[in-house]
């Protein structure tokens, strides 16, 4: 391995934190979805790192599954964004708050 596993995991954690902060702090739905993608990528990185650490290809299979799921999720998520935009003319996540008390 090029670098110790700790560094890979640290990078993964950092990317995850950035993605989480972005998902929390931004109001644009599309940016939120992109932040979620970032989080998923961070997880993929960690998986690949572990896969290399223990020489087990199952980690990479897992990564493939995550990619597939991410793709599906983005598809449907953006479909929702389009539907929301058609009805509300906005992609502000705080305007989509009808399911409340």
């Amino acid at each position: 391995m090029a670098v110790p596993l700790e560094h890979v995991i640290a990078l993964s954690g950092l990317l995850f934190a950035i993605g989480a902060a972005g998902a929390l702090a931004r109001r644009n739905l599309i940016v939120i979805l992109m932040s979620i993608e970032l989080m998923l990528n961070a997880v993929n990185l960690a998986l690949v790192g572990f896969s290399r650490q223990w020489g087990d290809v199952a980690g990479q299979i897992f990564v493939l599954m995550v990619i597939v799921v991410a793709a599906a999720e983005v598809t449907v998520g953006l479909g929702i964004v389009i539907a929301l935009f058609r009805n509300r003319e906005t992609v502000d996540v705080e305007d989509a708050s009808l399911l409340r008390w």
């Binding site: 670098v3 993608e37 299979i61 992609v91 705080e94």
Partner: protein, 167 residues
Amino acid sequence: MSAAAVFFYAFAALAVAGGLGMVLNVRNTVAGAMSLVLTMVALGGVYVLLEAYLVGVLQILVYAGAIVVLFLFVVMLLNLRGEAFGPERQGFAKVLGVAVVAVLLAEFVWLLPGAFGAPATPPEGFGGYRAVGLALFTDWLLAFEVTSLLLLAAMVGAVVLAKRSIE
């Protein structure tokens, strides 16, 4: 420091920069999407460095090449400019959330040193298309089939959601 390590840190820096660029970019959503592409590609490079060749290629092909493109399609379809939203309603919760994330990260990093031992030697052909493909179609066949169903569902969902009206 070996060349691989240098490349790793370079790609890591790019990935973080791209991530920050996406999250912090308030005005231009397209630029944010492009930052994301940068991150994806950088991560693809990291995967290759970690001997996960097939995954790395697929990362670039699928993520950078399809998913982010999809984002761009939607951004352009909706013709979004910058964000001009109303007053913030959940400021406190968000600050709290970000703080939690930061604390989490710090704790995470603090726990890391010495957590792992030396890496094992990977078997012959590790990370290549042959190894991954064999594993995918033998040990993990069920997962493979199920994900294809998932993709079908996603396709149907996307079509239905984006239609203008249901006849």
